[in-house]
C-alpha cells in the first residue's frame, strides 16, 4: 500500500481511537501524526509500517500497520507523562552516532543502521551490521539501549 494510503488509514483510525492511547489531554490536543516509516525484518525486507505520534520534540505514541494497511497495534511509550523518548531517536543519524559510540572501539566498518524488528514485530530497534573476521556482527540500538550479538536470529523459545 502507498504511503499516502497508510497516512489516510492512520488518520482515520486515529480519529476513532485517540482517546484510547492513554495519553493525557494536553498531549492529545497537540498530538501530531508524523510520516510513516517502513520497519524491516532482520533480513532487511519490508515488514510493516510504524507511524510515529509526537508531541513537541517527543515520540509519545505509535500505530503499527501491516503493509496492506491493517492496524496491528496502537498505543503509547512509557507510562508516566514526564518521560518521553526524544523524537531524534527515530533519526538514522542519531542511531548511527549511538551505535558508533557504543561499539566503535571494538567494531570497525559499521554499516548504515536500519529500523528493524529484532524477532517479533514488537521488538523495534535500530540495527547495523559490522564485519568481524569477515563474519557479520549485529549491533543494535533500541531507543537508548545498545546490545549486540554474533547470531542473526535468536531461538523463538527463548524469551
Amino acid at each position: 500500500m502507498e504511503i499516502k494510503q497508510i497516512e489516510k488509514t492512520s488518520d482515520s483510525f486515529l480519529s476513532m481511537v485517540k482517546a484510547d492511547l492513554g495519553l493525557p489531554e494536553f498531549i492529545l490536543q497537540k498530538l501530531e501524526r508524523k510520516k510513516p516509516m517502513i520497519v524491516k525484518n532482520i533480513d532487511l525486507n519490508p515488514s510493516y509500517w510504524f507511524v510515529p505520534l509526537t508531541y513537541k520534540d517527543y515520540l509519545v505514541g505509535f500505530l503499527h500497520l501491516t503493509l496492506d494497511g491493517e492496524i496491528m497495534a496502537y498505543g503509547r511509550f512509557m507510562q508516566r507523562d514526564k518521560e518521553y523518548i526524544p523524537i531524534n531517536y527515530l533519526s538514522k543519524e542519531t542511531a548511527y552516532a549511538e551505535i558508533t559510540k557504543s561499539f566503535g572501539e571494538v567494531h570497525k566498518n559499521i554499516g548504515c543502521p536500519h529500523l528493524i524488528h529484532d524477532g517479533p514485530p514488537q521488538k523495534l530497534t535500530w540495527m547495523s551490521v559490522a564485519k568481524e573476521d569477515d563474519e557479520p556482527f549485529y549491533l543494535f540500538w533500541a531507543f537508548g539501549e545498545p546490545y549486540s550479538r554474533r547470531e542473526k536470529e535468536i531461538d523463538k523459545y527463548l524469551i
Binding site: R76, F77, Q79, G119, Q122, I159
Partner: protein
C-alpha cells in the same frame, strides 16, 4: 400447487409466529434511529426523514405475510426503505435497509399487468392481486384471474421486468434466477425455534428503549428540528457502546484515589530481560515485589541470558512461595484471554522470542460484514529497554507463541 408443507404452514401461521404491524413499525423506527446514531454511510440526511406509518405487505408464496416494507421519505423524496419481518421464524426483526429509491414503480407494474391481461388473457379480469417475494429478493404480483364463465387462472408477473414467471415450484437448492419458492419453507424447524427466541429478545429490547424515550415517539420526534432529532437520538443511544472493553483495576479511581495506575509498566532493564520484566509486572499486581535480577535467578538464568520458555512456570511458582499456580498455554485463544481478564488476572503473552504482560481486552461491537471481529489485547510491553510501551494489539493479526497464566491456589481450611 403448493410451495410449503401443510404442517409447516399451519405451525408458522399461528399467532405466536405472526408479527403485528404495530410491532414491525416500532422495529423500523428503532432501526432508523440506530442508523442515524451510527452515522452509517448511505444514511446521511436521514435525520430529516419520516417513516411511512402504513407499510406495504409482501407475501410469501406460502400465502403468509413475509415482510413489512416501510418507505422512508424526506419531504416528497423517497430516500429508501426499511424492511422488517412479518413472521418471527425469520429471526431478527430487521431484514434489510435500502438506502436508495426503489428501482421499480408499483404504479408502472400495475399498468403493465393490466396490459398483459388485456393482451394474453382475453375474457379474464383481475379478481385479486398480491405483492409476493417469489425468489428472494425478487418481487412479483401474484394475480388471480376470473372469466365470465367463472373459470380461474393464477399468474405471477415480476414487478421489475414484467416477465411472467412459471408457477412450477423450483427445487430448494436451485434458487437462482426466476424460479419461484417459498422463503419461509426453507427455515428448518430447529431454526424456527431459535429465530423466534431471537425475535422476541430483540423485540423486548426495542420496546424497553422506546417506552422510556418519550421524545422518540413519532408525535414528538417529527416535531423536532433535524439537529434536535440527532441530539435526542445521541442522548438515547449512548447505551450502544461501539466496543466492549475490560482492563485490570483494583479500585474505583475516585476521590483521592484517581491519579495512579493499578497495573504498572515495568520496562526491561536490558535487552534480554523481557520474561523477567513481564513476570515483574504480574507479580507486582499481586503485590510481590522482586527485581528483574531476582526473577532471573528464580528462572535459573544469568542477567545476560534469555529465558527458556520452560523456566517460567517453576520460576513464577517459586517466587509466589507456591501460593499461585503458573500454567503454560501453548494454544492462545481469545476466550481464554478474555476469561483471565474477567477474573482480574494479568497474564504473560508471548510472541516468538518476546514476553509481555497483558492487562486488558477489547472487542469491537460494530464491524464490517465478512471480516473478523476486531479484538485487541492491552499489552504492557517491556520493550524498548528502560522505556516500555502500553498498547492495544490486534489479536487477529498477531502470531502468538504461548501464554502464561498465574492463578491463586485455594487453601483448604479443614
Amino acid at each position: 400447487m403448493s410451495f410449503i408443507e401443510k404442517n409447516k404452514r399451519e405451525r408458522i401461521s399461528r399467532q405466536t409466529f405472526q408479527v403485528k404491524g404495530e410491532d414491525a413499525g416500532l422495529a423500523a423506527r428503532f432501526h432508523l434511529y440506530s442508523l442515524i446514531a451510527s452515522r452509517a454511510k448511505g444514511v446521511e440526511g436521514w435525520e430529516k426523514a419520516r417513516i411511512q406509518s402504513k407499510p406495504r405487505i409482501v407475501y410469501d408464496l406460502s400465502g403468509l405475510p413475509l415482510f413489512y416494507d416501510f418507505a422512508v421519505y424526506s419531504g416528497r423524496n423517497r430516500l429508501g426503505n426499511i424492511r422488517t419481518g412479518a413472521n418471527k421464524s425469520l429471526g431478527n426483526p430487521i431484514i434489510s435497509t435500502q438506502t436508495n429509491p426503489e428501482g421499480w414503480s408499483i404504479d408502472k407494474a400495475v399498468e403493465e399487468l393490466n396490459k398483459l391481461v388485456r393482451k394474453d388473457y382475453k375474457g379474464y379480469s383481475i379478481s385479486s392481486k398480491r405483492l409476493v417475494c417469489y425468489s428472494y429478493p425478487k418481487l412479483a404480483f401474484m394475480v388471480n384471474l376470473a372469466s365470465r364463465e367463472r373459470e380461474t387462472k393464477q399468474i405471477l408477473m415480476d414487478v421489475g421486468d414484467y416477465t411472467v414467471i412459471s408457477l412450477e415450484p423450483g427445487p430448494a437448492r436451485e434458487m437462482l434466477g426466476q424460479i419461484p419458492y417459498s422463503l419461509l419453507s426453507l427455515i428448518s424447524e430447529p431454526k424456527e425455534r431459535e429465530n423466534i427466541e431471537v425475535y422476541n429478545k430483540v423485540d423486548k429490547n426495542i420496546k424497553e428503549v422506546l417506552v422510556k424515550e418519550r421524545n422518540l415517539e413519532p408525535r414528538r420526534y417529527y416535531e423536532l428540528k433535524p439537529t434536535e432529532r440527532i441530539r435526542e437520538i445521541d442522548r438515547s443511544f449512548v447505551f450502544i457502546s461501539p466496543v466492549t472493553e475490560k482492563t485490570l483495576d483494583y479500585c474505583c479511581h475516585t476521590g483521592s484515589c484517581h491519579d495512579h495506575a493499578c497495573f504498572c509498566l515495568h520496562p526491561q532493564e536490558n535487552s534480554v530481560h523481557c520474561a523477567r520484566a513481564a513476570a515483574q509486572m504480574m507479580l507486582c499486581y499481586w503485590r510481590y515485589c522482586y527485581s528483574q535480577h531476582e526473577i532471573a535467578q528464580a528462572y535459573g538464568v544469568s542477567d545476560t541470558a534469555l529465558t527458556p520458555v520452560g523456566a517460567v512456570v517453576p520460576g513464577l511458582e517459586s517466587l509466589t512461595k507456591n501460593c499461585f499456580d503458573a500454567t503454560l498455554h501453548w494454544t492462545v485463544n481469545w476466550a481464554d484471554c478474555e476469561n483471565e481478564i474477567k477474573e482480574r488476572r494479568p497474564f504473560m503473552s508471548c510472541v516468538p522470542g518476546h514476553a509481555r504482560a497483558c492487562a486488558g481486552t477489547k472487542q469491537w461491537n460494530i464491524w464490517v460484514v465478512n471480516t473478523p471481529r476486531p479484538r485487541y489485547l492491552n499489552i504492557y510491553d517491556p520493550w524498548p529497554p528502560n522505556t516500555g510501551a502500553i498498547y492495544w494489539e490486534n489479536f487477529n493479526t498477531t502470531n502468538y507463541l504461548c501464554n502464561f497464566s498465574l492463578v491463586r491456589r485455594t487453601t483448604s481450611h479443614i
